[in-house]
């Protein structure tokens, strides 16, 4: 599903250049729940942003479903993100002016009929355990609930891949556990492909596979 070849990312120029990714090669199959792990500064968030088309690599290629997504125009990338990818960010990323329900269906407004996306958004919120919070605003629910709403939003357009960038980093242990259980459930019951960046060692047991990064490269023999 995702095929990455010789991916490089350099920030800055010449003497001030920082090589965040130094030639990443990896494959992720449909239905996998993959964690990208590594020490701080290993390049895991940079990799996730590039895989999720939020940033551009300096060189290399990314094929998603055999499509070279780095050749897409800005408009095509936006469309691709909207239809094929879902995101859960590290910090709460809901729009404060909208209810939980509205936040979830916003990405679907461009794509579907109002009845369709409202119904699906409500259904997703029930799946993530927020069936009673549809009309609440983000500042009226807890951090864990906001993150669950973010997951529901990420799923509204039935994405092929769900990206999560340290989704539990801002949460307490109990809320973090709920989120990880939810990811597992989505992966197991719905076959959702999930790529998650995390720095929590214990998250390893929830995923199918871990891709370890070290100094901008895939670490094939991690010693953690």
């Amino acid at each position: 599903m995702i095929s990455v070849e010789n991916l490089h990312k350099t920030y800055g120029h010449r003497l001030a250049a920082t090589h965040a990714l130094k030639g990443i090669d990896l494959e992720i199959e449909t239905g996998e729940f993959v964690a990208i792990m590594g020490r701080s500064g290993s390049g895991k968030s940079t990799l996730l942003h590039i895989l999720g088309l939020l940033d551009m690599p300096t060189s290399g290629s990314i094929l998603i479903d055999q499509k070279n997504v780095l050749n897409l125009t800005e408009g095509e990338k936006a469309r691709f993100r909207l239809e094929k990818l879902g995101y859960v960010f590290q910090e709460y990323s809901l729009l404060p002016e909208m209810t939980i329900l509205e936040n979830v269906y916003v990405p679907a407004v461009c794509l579907g009929s109002e009845n369709g996306y409202r119904k699906r958004a409500a259904e997703l919120l029930r799946i993530v355990g927020l069936g009673e919070r549809l009309k609440h605003y983000p500042n009226e629910v807890s951090g864990g609930e906001q993150q669950r709403a973010s997951i529901a939003r990420a799923l509204i357009n039935r994405p092929k891949i769900l990206f999560a960038d340290e989704p539990t980093a801002s949460l307490d242990i109990a809320s973090a556990k709920v989120i990880l259980e939810l990811f597992k459930k989505l992966n197991r019951e719905m076959g959702q492909t999930i790529v998650m960046v995390t720095h929590e060692p214990e998250d390893e047991k929830h995923v199918n596979r871990v891709i370890w990064l070290r100094d901008g490269l895939v670490d094939k023999e991690p010693k953690y």
Partner: protein, 414 residues
């Protein structure tokens, strides 16, 4: 269609649930800017309007009929008056017999014939008072005594700048030294005819010092002074007053079509130096209006810019979840237009129901006269266009700039 719907939805939610104080502040700035854009030019247009009105009221009426270039007088003046009176839209016609005269006051106290004493040369106009009151407003500006009657022969009405006294504005040596009602003045016509008149009234058009340097006698009296050359129903000039809403140019065409051997012109062609002042005010009004618009634009830009910058992270998140750039720009554009429309509405209400009525009740008392606001359609449309343009630019520039940033940068708030 979906994109438009989403843009409107985002804008709606942002307005309804966004920061109330920011919304109030933006609309307040827009409203005050709009009212200011109307106010400043309207005061200046009010000044020019006052100057123009004064020229019409005290000197020219709306239309001026002069003899042809080869003649000094219009013949059969009363017939012309009657013909013009028949034209719909004409509310007054008055023939003038103009001359200049050497006017002396207290001449009996002179030591010798070479003693100039209190004297000077001024324009003297012969009028039919009953007709004149339908054309000019001099009769409304009598400050002492009374206006002329049709049968008056040895009485004269003087402008305050001839009579002198405390209320005159011109230098003392250019006026008589405080003529009073009942005093006598002696007029010497260019043809040498000398007559004495009792001062019946003194007027002050206030704003129009040009009019205050005129003296009026009856037309019959003036004709008798001027002698045989003008006897026989002649006039130096005929002034025509039109009703409200009558187009002067159209009326001029109608008067010309009567076949009168005369030059027919609008009052504005006689503006002279006053016309220059009016033109200067026009330029100043346009200049101040433009500056006001730029200042309003900058203020609105700053307020909206800060509002948009505060939503940088939200814009980044919207882009990250796949919302197209033009949808986000469209949403902020919608908000900017909404702010501008509310600003125009509230600013318009403030101006129409607050500022304008206030100026009508308390006009500015300037040396040139009482000035109230004159609101032109062009001023209103320019202000509306200006506010909309400034709001659109203020809304678009920051959001375009943010949506061109890397998504990650926007989300991080860099």
């Amino acid at each position: 269609m979906g994109n438009l719907k989403l843009a409107l939805f985002l804008a709606f939610k942002s307005i309804i649930k966004g920061n109330r104080w920011a919304l109030v502040l933006i609309i307040l700035v827009m409203s005050l800017s709009f009212a200011n854009l109307l106010l400043t030019p309207s005061i200046l247009w009010g000044v020019t309007n006052t100057l123009n009105r004064q020229q019409i009221d005290t000197l020219y009426g709306n239309i001026v009929i002069d003899p042809p270039p080869t003649e000094h007088y219009l013949s059969r003046a009363s017939l012309i008056e009657k013909k013009i009176e028949q034209i719909p839209g004409v509310t007054g016609v008055s023939a003038h017999l103009n001359s200049s005269a050497f006017i002396e006051y207290q001449w009996k106290e002179k030591d010798s014939p070479s003693d100039k004493g209190e004297s000077g040369t001024w324009s003297v106009i012969g009028i039919d008072p009953t007709r004149e009151i339908d054309v000019t407003t001099i009769h409304e500006h009598i400050i002492q005594g009374s206006y002329l009657d049709s049968n008056d022969r040895d009485e004269i009405v003087l402008g305050v700048e001839i009579a002198g006294g405390d209320r005159a504005q011109t230098a003392e040596f250019l006026r008589l030294q405080g003529v009073r009602i009942g005093d006598e003045v002696r007029l010497t016509d260019p043809n040498g005819v000398q007559r004495e008149y009792r001062v019946k009234g003194i007027f002050q058009a206030k704003e129009m010092t040009q009019a205050d340097r005129l003296a009026f006698v009856t037309k019959t009296e003036m004709a008798s002074v001027m002698g045989r050359t003008v006897y026989g129903d002649r006039a130096s000039r005929i002034l025509v007053r039109t009703g409200q809403g009558v187009t002067e140019s159209q009326l001029i065409q109608e008067i010309r079509s009567l076949g009168i051997d005369a030059e027919v012109r609008s009052w504005s062609e006689y503006g002279g130096a006053m016309g220059g002042i009016v033109s200067s005010f026009d330029v100043i009004a346009s200049l101040i209006g433009t500056i006001g618009l730029v200042v309003a634009g900058i203020v609105m830009f700053i307020v909206i810019y800060i509002n948009v910058i505060n939503k940088k992270r939200q814009i980044g998140i919207l882009r990250a979840i796949g919302i197209k750039r033009n949808v986000i720009v469209g949403s902020y554009l919608t908000q900017a237009i909404f702010y501008a429309i509310l600003g125009i509405v509230f600013g318009g209400l403030l101006f129409g129901y607050g500022i304008q009525p206030y100026f009508e009740l308390h006009p500015l008392d300037l040396p040139l006269g009482e000035v109230s606001l004159t609101v032109r359609a062009l001023t209103i449309s320019s202000a509306i266009l200006g506010i909309l343009t400034a709001a659109v630019l203020a809304g678009l520039i920051p959001v375009i700039s943010i949506t061109r940033q890397r998504i990650i940068q926007a989300i991080w708030g860099n």
